[in-house]
Every structure is written in structure tokens, then in C-alpha cells.
Symmetry: C2
């Protein structure tokens, strides 16, 4: 697994975003790393990230899958186009749609592992799949569609 987190290279998401932003004081602050053809993130929820005691909130799970997959998509686009992630030329992608299947309750109080990989890639649109595991079991599975955006104000 590589040692540089994608969020530390992707601007502005890596600074401000609720899921990704290292400078967001109340965000999830995920860190995602290339691991071969996948991108991996290990993250532990805080006390308030629950649905009910002992179970992680489904919205938080969606947020994790969205942000992790978005950063992985941007990284995949850069690799496909020979662009250095973090450079001025690096493209940005925004989420067009997100599907999450909740396979079983996600236990709170243990590290969660996200693994994302490319399902489809074109310059305009990238489809990512992402799995969430806890205690060795897959608890949720996501599919995100990300579209290229030069202007974050325009999906």
C-alpha cells in the first residue's frame, strides 16, 4: 500500500470536505491509499456516528463510500491520463449518483475498511464499486457514478 493519502493531494476536497477534509474540524477525515488496483481506507467511527448503540449510522456509511470512491475515481483518471495527482492539470469529479446496499448491520467500535475499484472509466464518467468490511464481513456495498467537472458549481 502506498504511503501518501489521496486526500492529501486532492484539492479542494482534501481540505474542506466533510468526508475528506483534513482541515474540516468536525468531518470524517478519511485517508485513502492506493493498494494495487484498489484504493483502501481504514477508519474508525466516533461515538456520535451511530444509528442505535452498537450500530454505525447508514448515512455515515454512505458518506464514507461517496468520498472514498470519489477520491479513488480522481486518482484513477489521473493514472489513466498520465497526470500527476495534485498537479494543476488534475481533473475533478463530482458525484452524479450513489447506490448503497446495506447487507448487514455495521458494528460500531471496530475499524472499518473500505475498498474501492474502477468498474468503468472514460474521461467524462467513472463508475466505482466500493465495499465496506467490519470484523472480516462485508456489511455494505456501494456503486458511485462520478462525472468530470471543471467547475465545482456545475455537475
Amino acid at each position: 500500500m502506498e504511503s501518501q493519502a489521496l486526500q492529501d493531494l486532492i484539492r479542494p476536497y482534501g481540505e474542506t470536505c466533510f468526508g475528506c477534509g483534513g482541515a474540516n474540524p468536525h468531518g470524517l477525515r478519511i485517508k485513502s491509499y492506493r493498494d494495487g488496483e484498489e484504493v483502501v481506507c481504514t477508519w474508525s467511527p466516533e461515538a456520535h456516528h451511530i444509528a442505535v448503540p452498537g450500530i454505525v449510522n447508514g448515512g455515515i456509511i454512505a458518506a464514507l463510500i461517496d468520498c472514498h470512491s470519489a477520491c479513488a475515481a480522481i486518482d484513477a483518471a489521473c493514472r489513466a491520463e498520465g497526470i500527476t495527482l495534485g498537479s494543476e492539470a488534475a481533473p475533478l469529479y463530482v458525484t452524479a449518483s450513489l447506490q448503497v446496499d446495506y447487507l448487514r448491520p455495521t458494528p460500531h467500535g471496530v475499524p472499518l475498511t473500505l475498498r474501492a475499484k474502477v468498474a468503468e472509466l472514460s474521461p467524462r464518467k467513472i463508475v466505482m464499486t466500493c465495499s465496506l468490511h467490519a470484523e472480516g464481513k462485508e456489511t455494505a456495498r456501494g456503486r458511485g457514478v462520478f462525472v468530470r467537472s471543471k467547475n465545482l458549481g456545475a455537475i
Copy 2:
């Protein structure tokens, strides 16, 4: 629109949940109200709920749609079965899947309005659709599948 928020009647979600819980110190604390055949929630994001400055984070939008729709589904089940919401007999539902389409960027700094309604209802499974509006425009659209659960540990 009725004056009693669904979250004030639905236990334990209305107490602990990141999206719904009035007693969750760092949650979204949404309040959803019946309005005819729909359930409505107006909510304003906090400063850290952004993707980039001026734009609401997509994961937060997913969390809003999930929790609002789940509470609306539980309310719909109770109405269909003649059960008083908040009573011991009231069923609980958990999210089996969530689909969110992001139609345009959701502006930060203005109130957001969620409207959910039933698309399919059976005792075992309820499908809800939910729209998110900001400044009079629909910015996101969701579809949640909720399944009945006597035991929150078992989807």
C-alpha cells in the same frame, strides 16, 4: 403540517441516531413532519457540512435522505396498520438500500427542504422516494428501501 416531529416519537432512532437523534450531540437532528401524503423536513447545514465552500457535501445529503425517509416509512407503516407511532406496537424499519441522484450542486447557507412519500408499501418492505430542494430547485432525489426489523441487529 402536523406539529409533532416523527423523530420525537420513534425510539430509539429519535434519541441516538446521527441523523435523527435529539440527544446526539454532534448529529444532524432532523425533524420530520407529516404534511398530507408527504413527510417534510426543513434543515439548515452547519459550517462543516460542505464538500467545498458554498456546496453541501453529498454524504450529508445521503444521510438526510436516508433518515428522513426511514422515519417517514415507519410512520407510513403505522398508519397503514392502525398502530400509534411511538407505542410499543410500532414496528421498526432499517435501510436495505439507498439510491441518491445528485441533480445539481446543493447550495450551502440556505434552508434545505426534504419531501418523502411512499412508493410501495407492504408489511415487510417499504419503498420511499424523497426529493431535496434548495432555493426552489430540486438538487437531489433519493429512493430508499426499508425492511421491517424486530431486532435492530438483524436486517
